[in-house]
Every structure is written in structure tokens, then in C-alpha cells.
Symmetry: C2
Subunit: 202 residues, 2 copies
């Protein structure tokens, strides 16, 4: 940042990490409605204007905090078996989406975004675009190694993969369980897998 | 109903239709938060206990009202070309989801359901299960006529089809446009279509 040219990058990163941790702690304690940038600033010992310089709203701050935790915990492995790596990650994501404290907080942001298209755009840009991109990266690698067909439009496939799990989580009371994930992966591999397993292996 | 054995069924159906219409009108005027079973009863000239006998909550009433409109307006055609019929229906559903007054009312129910698992179950049972079933019926017919492979697990495919459109509608500001629908249908037909078109036709 131009106003703190002498601050070592590592110290800035540590301060950001502390701020995001405090944000998640407060959200877990007070819920989304009870969260405020002022309260985060007080607990972290940072002026609220400093926070506002970087995050325009508490939603943006919270989404970065969620993203910070989830991109660390929930990144895709690359074992060379795309179906296995997607499956493992979807099981973890499904668990995270449905487990307190993060699950309910995230759900509250999604709820609020339904009446607020700016927040909906923020939600997508600050969080879901990252999730989709990480999925796209993993399946693109599988395309390069020949596990997926060369002409498949994977950008949209990444959205289908993420979207189906969110649908089940947000719009039903059915769990994101192994059967659901296997059903989704059956369809994905039947569409774009280069072996026969996707067409018959379920 | 046991308390009105002499009422002709047609009159009962007309009264139900009137009640559901009044529910949608009121929701469009006052929003989800301003809707109440008392207000619906007053405008329709029906006692609130009569309404509560059939609908346990305003959410259940509103979901039946939405379902009544949408299953009439948005049922799948059967032209013998499953991709074409799905595409036409998804375009209409995408428009309905994003258009006032129904779109925002429905979105408000979805938002409220995020903090209320009973409402989420009601939402799925009273509305989305119908949408998924109608999709499943259409693609099952296509399986019977040989347009889709005989061994495909279509039950889960119906959820993937519905879920992807909802994800885009609820969690981004991207429209449910022709490109999105074609991307989804490319994947669906590549997975389960019996001709080669799905594998290369995009």
C-alpha cells in the first residue's frame, strides 16, 4: 500500500490474517446480523477507517475471511485421478457448508444477498469466483493429462459442479452425501471422461 | 374435506384458486415480510382458521401459490426433441426467476429458508420437488424413446439441471442466458445423449 511503504510485507500479511480471524470469531459469536466493522476493529486494535480502506462493507470483509479459511482448507489435491480429487474435495466442502460456525454464517450472507444485488455480486467476486476457478484449474489439468476430452467446455462444467452442491445445500434438507456426489461425478465423467468408467461405473 | 362433504369439487377448486391468486397479489404488493394469512383471509373473505387447516404457515401457502402459477405456465413441452424442450423451459424458468413480481417474492422465501430448516423442507417438498419431478418425467420419456442412454441415472441428472440454474440465479449476478443454458445442455447431452451431437455440437 502506498501509505505504508516501509512496512514489511510479512507483518502486513500477519495483520490481515489476524483481522480475518477476528472477523470469523465475531461472526461465530454474534451471527451475521451482529457483526460490524467497528466491533472487528475494536477487538483487533485497528481503526475502522483502516478496515474500510480495504473492505467496502462487512460482507466483503466476511467473504474474504471465509475465502481465507476455505482456500487454505479446501483446495483440490492433484493425485492424477481427477474423479477421486473432486470427490474428496466435494465431501469436505459439503461438510464445511453444513457445519457450524462457518456454515450458518455463510448461509446468512447468502440469505442477505437475495435482497441485495451488490452483495450478490460481491459474494460471487470475492468468494465463489475463487471456488469456481480452483475447480476449473483442477479439471483443466485433467484435460491436459488426457483424463478429460480435449474439446470439453470446462468453464461451464466447473459452474455445474459447484452449483449442484449449492442447490442441495440451500434449497433442500438433503445432505451433500456420497450418493449425491457420486451421482454428480457420474454425470461429469460420462460427459467429459475419456475412459468408459463414467458411462457405466456407478 | 370431511367438514364440507356436500361442496361440489369444482367450487372447492375455484375457491382454492382464488385464495392462491390473492396470496400472490398480496405478496407482490407487500413483499414476503408483509404477507400474512390473516390478510389473505380478509381479502379472500375466508376465515384464517380455514386457511390454517390446509396450510400450516404463510410460507406453505405462498409456495403452493407459486407452484400453482408455475406448474401451469412452465410445464415441459414434448416435441420429441428433449434438448429443445429443456432449452425452451429453462429459458422461461430463468426469466420467471428474475422477473418481478414473482421472482423477488420467491427469492425472499429462499432467503428466509436459510435460517429456518423447516421452511427449507417445505420449500423443497411443496415446490422444488415438483419442478425436479417434472424435469425427471420429461427426460425419462426421452430415455424411453431412445434419445437418452438406457442406463443413465436420471433422477440425479434432474437435480443437476435444476440446481445449476438456481446457483446462477441465487449466487451470482450473471443472467440465466442462452449461453449458460446451452453449456448445461451440452454437458447433459454429452453425458446421456445417444447421438454424437452432445459430444461435439457446441
Amino acid at each position: 500500500m502506498s501509505d505504508t511503504p516501509a512496512t514489511p510485507r510479512r507483518r502486513g500479511a500477519a495483520r490481515t490474517e489476524e483481522l480475518l480471524r477476528v472477523t470469523l470469531d465475531l461472526a461465530a459469536e454474534a451471527g451475521y446480523a451482529g457483526l460490524s466493522i467497528e466491533a472487528v476493529g475494536r477487538r483487533a486494535g485497528v481503526g475502522k477507517h483502516t478496515i474500510y480502506r480495504r473492505w467496502p462493507s462487512k460482507a466483503a470483509l466476511l467473504l474474504d475471511a471465509l475465502s481465507h479459511v476455505w482456500t487454505r482448507d479446501l483446495d483440490y489435491r492433484d493425485t492424477g485421478d481427477v474423479r477421486r480429487d473432486l470427490r474428496e474435495q466435494f465431501l469436505r466442502s459439503g461438510f464445511a457448508l453444513s457445519s457450524p460456525p462457518i456454515g450458518p454464517i455463510y448461509r446468512a450472507v447468502i440469505a442477505e444477498a437475495q435482497a441485495d444485488s451488490v452483495l450478490r455480486a460481491t459474494l460471487h467476486e470475492r468468494f465463489l469466483a475463487t471456488v469456481e476457478q480452483s475447480t476449473l484449474d483442477r479439471i483443466t489439468r485433467a484435460q491436459h493429462t488426457g483424463e478429460l476430452t480435449a474439446d470439453a467446455n470446462l468453464e461451464f462444467a466447473a459452474e455445474v459442479l459447484c452449483g449442484t452442491l449449492y442447490y442441495r445445500s440451500l434449497l433442500s434438507t438433503r445432505p451433500i452425501d456420497e450418493a449425491a456426489i457420486d451421482g454428480l461425478l457420474d454425470m461429469f465423467m460420462a460427459a467429459y471422461g475419456t475412459t468408459d468408467q463414467g458411462l457405466s461405473g456407478h
